[in-house]
Amino acid sequence: MFHGYLPMILDGLRVTLSVAVVSLAVASVFGMMGAVAKLSASPVLRAVAGTYTTVIRALPDLLLMLVIFYGGQILLNTITQAQGWGYVDVNAFMAGTITLGFVFGAYLTETFRGAILAIPRGQIEAAQSIGLSRGQVLRNVTIPQMVRHALPGFTNNWLVLLKATALVSIIGLDDMMHRASLASAATREPFTFYMIVGAIYLAITTVSILGLGALNWRMSRSLRREAVG
C-alpha cells in the first residue's frame, strides 16, 4: 500500500513529534521566564517581557521562523568568525525547536501569568506567615495550583504548536511534511500523501484533546467537590 512509502512517512512522524515535544519544553522555559518577568517589580524586566510578547504575537509564525533561522545563522557566524573559529552550520533541528520554542514562549507567558495571578494572594501570605521559605512557597503552594490554572491554556497552545510544526519543513527539517513531498514527487500522488499527513495530525490532536481533557478533569476535582458541597 502507498507504494511502500508509509514507513518513510511514519519515520518522519518521529521527527515531527520530537520537534513538537522539545519545542514545548523550550516554550515552557521561555514562558515561565516571561511570566516571572512580567510580574516582577523591575520596570526593565517588565518592559523586556512586554516587548517580547507583543512583537512575537503580532507577526506570522513563518516569518519569525525564517528570521530566527537565517538571522541566527548570520549572527552565530559573525561571532565565530570574530573569534576565529571558522564556519558553523546551524543544525536544522536545533534551529526549528529554538524558533518554535521562542515563538510559543510568548503565548505561554500570558497563560502562565494568568495562572499565577489566579492564585489567591492570601494563600501565599498564609504560607509565608507559618514560616515557609520562598522556595517552599513556590514548590508547595504556587506551582501545584498554577499547573491547574494553566492547563486549559497550555492545552490550547500545545494544539497550535503541534500544527505549527508543519512549518519546520520550510527551514529544511526532514519531518513528516518533507517526507510527504518526497513521496509525492516520486509517485505523482501528492493528494494521497498529504491526506495521510493530515490524518496523522488529526489523530495526534484528538489524542491530545482526550488526554489533556482527562488530566484537567482530574486536576480540578477539588473544585468540583466545592461546587457540589
Binding site: L59, P60, M177, P190, F191, Y201, T206
Partner: protein, 246 residues
C-alpha cells in the same frame, strides 16, 4: 548598518506584496464571514443532524495544519481525475484561487465555532422577553438575537481576523508574491536580514496594529454599554427612562 538603497529599490515590490496580502485577507475574510453565519446557526442547533456535520467540518479544519490543507488543495487535488476533468479545473490550477479557498475554509471553521459559542450563550430570557413583548420571529432574530451574538463574538472574532492575516503569509509557499515572499526574495538576492525579513516584519506589524485598532473601534461602538465610564455619565433622565422600560 541598514542598506537604504536596497530598501528604496524594493519598496515598490513590498507595496505590491502588501496589496496581494490585503486582497487575500479581505476576500477570504468576507467569504468566511458569510459562510460562518449560517454554519454557526446549524452548529448551535439542538438537532444533531444539523450540528454534527458542521462539527465534523470544523474539527477536521481546526485539527490539521493550514499548510497541509493548502498543499492538499494546490498540489493534491490535480492528482484526481474528477478535478482535472471538471469545469473548475482552470481555478484549481491557479495558486491564488487555491490559497483563497484554503484560507476561506480555514477561517470559516474557526469563525463558525466562535459564532456558535456566542449563539449558545444567548440568555434564553432575552429572546423570551422579546417574544413576550410581541416581536415577530424575524424581529427577534434581527433586533435581539444577532446583535447580541455579534457583540459577544466580537473580541474573539477580532483575534481570528488577525490570525487570518498572519496565515496569508503561508501563500508564499505556493508561489504567491505577498509580503513575506518579497522579503524572502530580497533575502536570497542580497543575503541581508533587516532589509528583507525586517521590512516584511514592519509591514505585518503595521497591519496587526491597524486591524487591532479597527476592532478596538468596533468594540467601542458595539460594546459601549459595558464601558463603566460611559454608564457613569448617564444623565438622571436617561436612568429613569431605563427603569421605566425595565
Amino acid at each position: 548598518m541598514i542598506n537604504w538603497s536596497i530598501i528604496i529599490e524594493m519598496l515598490p515590490a513590498f507595496w505590491r506584496g502588501l496589496q496581494i496580502t490585503l486582497i487575500l485577507l479581505c476576500t477570504a475574510g468576507l467569504a468566511g464571514l458569510a459562510l460562518a453565519v449560517p454554519l454557526s446557526l446549524a452548529r448551535a442547533s439542538s438537532h444533531p443532524l444539523l450540528s454534527w456535520p458542521v462539527f465534523i467540518f470544523t474539527y477536521i479544519l481546526r485539527g490539521t495544519p493550514l499548510l497541509v490543507q493548502l498543499f492538499i488543495i494546490y498540489y493534491g487535488l490535480p492528482q484526481l481525475d474528477i478535478v482535472r476533468q471538471s469545469a473548475f479545473w482552470p481555478f484549481f490550477r491557479d495558486p491564488f484561487f487555491c490559497a483563497w479557498l484554503a484560507f476561506t475554509l480555514n477561517t470559516t471553521a474557526y469563525t463558525t465555532e466562535i459564532f456558535a459559542g456566542a449563539i449558545r450563550n444567548t440568555p434564553a430570557g432575552e429572546v423570551e422577553a422579546a417574544r413576550a413583548m410581541g416581536l415577530s420571529r424575524t424581529q427577534v432574530l434581527r433586533d435581539i438575537f444577532w446583535p447580541g451574538a455579534w457583540r459577544r463574538a466580537l473580541p474573539q472574532y477580532g483575534n481570528e481576523v488577525v490570525q487570518l492575516m498572519h496565515a496569508t503569509a503561508l501563500a508564499s509557499t505556493i508561489t504567491i508574491v505577498e509580503i513575506l515572499r518579497v522579503g524572502r526574495d530580497v533575502y536570497y538576492n542580497h543575503l541581508v536580514i533587516t532589509e528583507s525579513f525586517g521590512m516584511a516584519a514592519v509591514f505585518f506589524l503595521a497591519l496587526t496594529v491597524v486591524l487591532t485598532l479597527i476592532f478596538r473601534i468596533l468594540e467601542k461602538l458595539f460594546l459601549r454599554h459595558l464601558d463603566p465610564r460611559d454608564s457613569a455619565n448617564v444623565s438622571p433622565s436617561e436612568t429613569t427612562k431605563v427603569t421605566v422600560n425595565a
